[in-house]
């Protein structure tokens, strides 16, 4: 009996756990509870993915109200895959959180911190599970609001201003999305995604629908920090508590990309994206994002900020894949979603381990630290190689598929850009490695030791995943191809 309810429990579990955690007296209890919840969610998400790939789409009518009138949770291989990424990253981030949070967040705020974390987690999972476009907005706001609160808990006072900046831009984005949804609703009278997909072809020529499409596009682009709407991201990632940076970098933008894919390719009929300027826009902005954000990254003096700009560049690659609007391009985008979560998660975790030891991530303070913290350093190198896209790492796979997609379109320019982007990544990763290893250590830092095992273990788990998914591509690419089928396949 429980099998059919698992999909809803994936969202309900963290949602229920959040208020329980909020009233817990001590941070450690709150952590333990959150950890158990995240683990259970990861197991459920994994089981759900298995079930979807083997038995087909899961549809769940909330409150027993049949779709399209009620809210439907509809899980196919796309959202099942994204849910696995989110739940998996949360389950890996939480063990890491214990020490890091104890260092960065005051004891009396820790239960609330974990509560907000679980709310954010529930919101992100909710976005992936739901098949109702207005429900997407609600979950988007649940996750965003808790994210603003989490970012503002950073140690420096700049955390407050960056949270505020994100709040303004994020709310504008969400409201744009809301306008777009309203315009689509006014023409079709439905909010269910599958129903929309069925009804939209009849009205797709109307100006209202085009306007709604544009509003939704801009709203989501703000949320996924597509260049040049990325301005909130570097500050937010730099000043947020380490754990939050890891979690957001690996999940939040991914979910926004998922929403984008859903709207562009499931809700709007086949060929709509290719016919509209949106496809070209994605390619142009993707290319601009890759180049400009990578160059920005090279000039950063704070490692966290450097990696944040690199994230904007990686989103550029994903946008490029979306812009091609071919099944190969979409496969590349979805694979890159997963791989980028792995490598950015590992990199931010390793940097977090350094912050745990020396309290800063400013590049001038890191001289020679690589020799003091060899394991952390090795993690940065491997994850960095993956970011560059060296064969044998996960990053290579997604770039390979992206290049294939570009070749298929004979977009030689895009191929050159992808290679140039990798070269720029060599420079900024090289800059970190050079400081960490080749510069002489400062004298006051002679007592610094390797990071504790509780920080290293999750980091290395992700690093090993980077190598594993670089060698064994069957799983990721196989699921991504299936996901693309589900995404563009015509609804029944």
């Amino acid at each position: 009996m429980m099998q059919e309810h698992l999909s809803i429990f994936l969202v309900i579990l963290p949602l229920v756990a959040a208020p329980i955690v909020a009233i817990m007296p001590r941070g450690r209890y709150a952590w333990a509870f959150s950890f158990v919840v995240a683990m259970v969610c990861a197991v459920i998400a994994g089981q759900q993915l298995w079930s979807v790939t083997h038995h087909g789409v899961i549809s769940y009518a909330l409150g027993g109200w049949a779709p399209p009138w009620g809210i439907e949770y509809r899980i196919d291989s796309v959202n099942a895959f994204i849910a696995v990424i989110i739940a998996g990253i949360a389950a890996i981030t939480l063990p890491y959180a214990l020490l890091s949070v104890e260092k960065e967040i005051p004891e009396h705020k820790q239960p609330l911190f974990y509560s907000a974390f679980l709310l954010c987690f529930a919101g992100l999972l909710g976005i992936t599970q739901t098949g109702d476009i207005f429900n997407v907005f609600v979950f988007l706001e649940i996750s965003s609001l808790s994210t603003y609160a989490l970012i503002s808990m950073g140690q420096k006072r700049q955390a407050l201003t960056s949270a505020y900046q994100y709040l303004i831009m994020g709310t504008l984005g969400a409201t744009f999305f809301l306008i777009g949804v309203g315009l689509l609703y006014s023409q079709t009278g439905t909010l269910n995604m599958m129903d929309l997909a069925k009804l939209l072809p009849d009205v797709v020529g109307l100006k209202t629908v085009h306007t709604g499409f544009a509003f939704i596009l801009i709203g989501i682009a703000l949320k996924l920090a597509l260049f040049p709407l990325h301005l909130w991201l570097p500050n937010a990632y730099t000043y947020a508590p380490t754990v939050i940076t890891v979690f957001l970098a690996a999940t939040a933008t991914k979910v926004a990309v998922y929403v984008m894919l859903r709207i562009l390719f499931t809700i709007f009929p086949d060929g709509f994206v290719a016919a509209s300027p949106a496809g070209d826009l994605f390619i142009i902005l993707g290319i601009a994002g890759v180049i400009i954000a990578s160059v920005y990254a090279i000039y950063q003096t704070n490692v966290k900020r450097l990696l944040a700009y690199s994230s904007v560049a990686q989103i550029g690659y994903i946008a490029l894949g979306i812009g091609f609007a071919t099944s190969l391009g979409l496969t590349a985008s979805i694979v890159h979603l997963f791989n980028h979560a792995l490598m950015k998660g590992a990199l931010f975790m390793a940097v977090g381990a350094i912050i745990y030891r020396i309290g800063t991530s400013h590049i001038s303070e890191l001289n020679g630290l690589g020799r003091k913290m060899p394991w952390t350093f090795a993690a940065i190198i491997i994850a960095g190689l993956s970011l560059i896209g060296v064969p044998g790492t996960a990053g290579f796979i997604s770039k390979w598929y992206l290049v294939l997609a570009a070749l298929e379109q004979q977009a030689w320019f895009a191929v050159a850009i992808i290679l140039l982007g990798s070269l720029l990544a060599v420079i900024y990763i090289g800059k970190i490695v050079e400081t960490l290893y080749f510069k002489p250590a400062k004298e006051k830092q002679t007592t610094i030791q390797e990071a504790p095992i509780l920080l290293l273990a999750p980091t290395w788990l992700l690093v090993i995943a980077n190598i594993y998914f670089g060698l064994n591509t069957e799983l990721t690419v196989g699921i991504a191809e299936q996901a693309v089928q589900a995404l563009v396949g015509t609804p029944k």
Partner: protein, 118 residues
Amino acid sequence: MDFLIGHYNYWVAIFLMMIGFYTVISHGNLVKKIIGLNIFQVSVFLLYISMSTVTGGAAPIITEGVQLYSNPLPHVLILTAIVVGVATTALGLALVVRIKEAYGTIEEDEIHEQDHSL
């Protein structure tokens, strides 16, 4: 002329939307930005609500002798959106209070000056 008058609800919504949007962009005062954001959101609420009106329809509560009702669904959606808006405003104002404590000012340019950032 019919076009102008017939769509007056859209004109109101767009007018408010642009007022709000402009306030968010142009003002350096953090509280004023939040007020602008509120106006921006409310314009969208109005857009939804006015969309749901059915000419000659009654309020969507079952009453004897009434056949034609307005569409209640957008009302429900907007109720949710209003709650989200309240939460956003509260969170934004809380952040402003904390910023005021940390910086001693809520003017954007003065904050940037203190941080020597962009």
